[in-house]
Each structure stands twice: as C-alpha cells, then as structure tokens.
C-alpha cells in the first residue's frame, strides 16, 4: 500500500514549515530552545492526527457549505482537550507555551490537512497522513530549536555542549534571530535539493 508514502511525504517533500511555509507563528515563537519546540511539536502532531480522524469519520455527513466552521469547531475542541491535559501534567511547559497553545486552533496546516486530505480519504490513511505531517512538523521545530539553542546558548536540551570559550550571541534566542535562522535553514535545504537533482541528472546522463 501507499501508506508508507503518505507517512514520509510530510517529513521533507511537503514539510509543513520548510516547504509549505504554513504555521510559521509557532515555528518562531516557541523555538528558542529544543524542549519547548518539542512540546509544541508533539501537541500539534496530536491535534492534527485526531482532527484528521474525526473529519474523515464524519466526511460524508458534513454538508460541504458549512464544512470549514465544522472543521474549526472540531479543531478547537481537540485543542482544548490537549490544553487541559498539558495544564494538568506539564504545568511548566504549559506556562512557557502560553498563548501560542490556544493559537494552535488557527494553524493553517491543521485546517489545510483536513480540507486537502482527510475530507477525501478513509480513516486509516487520514490518520497516517496526520501522523506523518505532525512528525514533519516536530522535525522542523526540533531543527530550528536546536540551531537556535546551540547558537544562542551553547547548549542542547539544557545540557551545555560548547565550553566556556564560547560567547553566545544572544540575538539567536531573541525575536530577530528566529527569522534569520529560518531563512538560512531554508537556504540550506534548497541547496541540498539542488545537489540531489544534479546528481540525479548526472546518473540519468550516464545510463
């Protein structure tokens, strides 16, 4: 089956942040360290998977004219559940993520997956699609968070990695640094993509 393909496309080819440039707000706001980035990433992954499943289950019942409000209510309900769970079991993380947690409701990527994929497919593929896209989101968040924490603080997940000789430029964890780091990550990804294509073309030429 193509389930594996549905799962992996979210990682690089259609990565929500780097490729589709959707849901950028969290990608900048909570990525000043890896821990927060992962917390946000997994929350979004949970919401996107649950929402894909619920939309897919009810896809034949929802009238097309009112589909967007229905999707939004479904997302908002799942987000509220996720918020209550986080508040109960991870109070520190809940405080750190703050308002951005409620704003998960309006992340374009979640609505986009519901509209583009879950509304047209069966439950299992929709779930896989949600998991894959969510994982791609977690991956992007972790990369951005990792780079920013390493540059701005010399640490990863709170462990000091670079020695005392390293004087971290604070800008990487401040607002402007986030924009600049993402800009360069997109540049590097484009470069990798180009290399890959060139290699493919060379192989094609030899054969």
């Amino acid at each position: 089956m193509n389930l594996w393909k549905e799962f992996t496309k979210g990682l690089l080819d259609e990565n929500p942040i780097f490729r589709l440039a959707l849901s950028l707000c969290p990608a900048l706001a909570v990525t000043s360290n890896v821990y927060n980035a992962l917390g946000m990433g997994f929350t979004v992954m949970f919401v996107i998977t649950c929402n894909n499943m619920s939309v897919s289950i009810f896809r034949n019942v929802i009238h097309p004219k009112v589909r967007v409000p229905v999707y939004i209510i479904s997302i908002a309900t799942i987000v509220t559940v996720a918020m209550l769970v986080l508040e109960a079991f991870f109070p520190v993380l809940f405080k750190e993520l703050g308002i951005y947690l409620s704003l998960v409701v309006v992340f374009a990527i979640i609505l986009a997956r519901a509209e583009v994929f879950a509304a047209k497919n069966k439950v299992i593929p929709s779930m896989i699609d949600g998991l894959g896209m969510g994982l791609g989101f977690v991956f992007a968040m972790a990369v951005i968070g990792g780079v920013r924490e390493l540059i701005g603080n010399g640490s990863l997940l709170g462990y000091q990695i670079l020695g005392s000789w390293y004087h971290p430029p604070l800008i990487a964890v401040l607002a402007p640094g986030g924009f600049i780091v993402i800009g360069f990550i997109i540049g590097v990804l484009n470069l990798i993509e180009k290399r890959k294509q060139q290699r493919l073309e060379q192989k094609g030429g030899q054969a």
């Binding site: 309900t77 509220t80 484009n190």
Partner: protein
C-alpha cells in the same frame, strides 16, 4: 488619557505583534509581495481586530464568566470571530460594493488568523476593561499594518537585487524580516508594560 496613549504606542510599536510576538506570520509572508495589497490588508486587519475584540470582551464578561465556562474560551472565540467576519463580509458586499471590491477577499483571509484570535486572548489574560481592550486591539492592528507595509516595501526593493540562488524567495524574505525585527528591537524597553 496618558495611560491609554501609552497602551496604544506600546501595542503598536514596542511590542509589535509580528516582529516581537510572531503572530500573524502567514499573512505577513503571504500578502507582502506588493505594496498595494499589503495596505488594503492592513486596513482590513485593523478594523476586524478592533471590532472582534470588542465583541469577544462582551461575550466573555456577560456569558462565559457568569456561566463559569471560561475554559471554553478558545472554542467560543474562534467560532464567534469566524461568524462575525462572515457577516461583515455579507453586509459590506450588500451595502458598500466599492469597498468590497477593494478588500473583500482579505476579510475572509483574516477570519481564522493568529492575530485576530490572539488579541482577544491577550486581553482576556491581562484582565483589561472594555476601553483598554479596544485600545489594545486598535494599537495591535495598527502595529501589524505598519510592519506589513514596511515589509512589503522592502520586498519590492529586494526583487531587483542580486540574491544568492538558494536564498531566493522565502529564504531572503525571512532574513529581511529578521532585519526589520532587529530595527524594532531598538524600541524595546521604551515603555515598561
């Protein structure tokens, strides 16, 4: 009066929504490709944000708090704002067709956006009264419009410069936004909030 003025300037410039709090980035990158579109978008944002935060304040204080269901805040706000924007679009289409032609599509784009939902949530978290919420919303909207218009002008200039191939497009847009944010960082600490 001074208090409200400080709140306005603080929300518009010092704590600028896009550049220091990172809200509304989808629109910030999506609609900033040309100057004209971005100024219409700015206007749409200012009006919708102010009206919807007035509306959500009333709903929070007269419905949610008396009933003790404040934890449903997110769901209720999202739905209320979406419905309100849809209604506003219909009214404008019917009574002001010229205005509708200028920024009708932007209204719908705005409906489910982080800024529009973010300001009511911030107001509610800070326990602002009605006038303060309105002033805060007006300031945040203005700040967003300023940032959007500045950024659109920068991007128009950037189209004619010589940019490394791999950074072209989204990459350079992010770096430009970073520079703009750096400039806005200079206002930091001007008004203690």
């Amino acid at each position: 009066m001074k208090e409200y003025l400080l709140l306005f300037v603080g929300a518009a410039i010092v704590n600028n929504f896009v550049l220091t709090r990172y809200l509304g980035l989808c629109i910030f990158f999506g609609v900033s490709k040309n100057f004209h579109a971005s100024s219409s978008m700015g206007l749409a944002i200012i009006s919708v944000i102010t009206m919807s935060s007035m509306l959500t304040w009333v709903i929070e204080h007269f419905i949610l708090i008396p009933l003790g269901v404040l934890f449903l805040k997110t769901i209720v706000f999202v739905v209320v704002i979406a419905v309100f924007v849809q209604l506003l679009e219909m009214v404008i289409k019917k009574f002001m067709p010229t205005l509708y032609n200028i920024w009708g599509i932007y209204l719908l784009l705005v409906a489910t956006n982080c800024v529009i939902l973010g300001v009511p949530l911030i107001n509610s978290e800070a326990h602002f009264d009605f006038i303060k919420s309105t002033v805060n919303a007006l300031g945040s909207g203005t700040g967003f419009a300023i940032a959007l218009i500045l950024f659109a002008s920068l991007r128009e200039k950037a189209q004619f410069s010589n940019i490394p191939k791999s950074l072209d497009g989204l990459g350079i847009a992010f770096i430009l936004a970073g520079m703009l944010a750096l400039a806005f960082q200079g206002f930091g600490g001007m008004i203690p909030l």
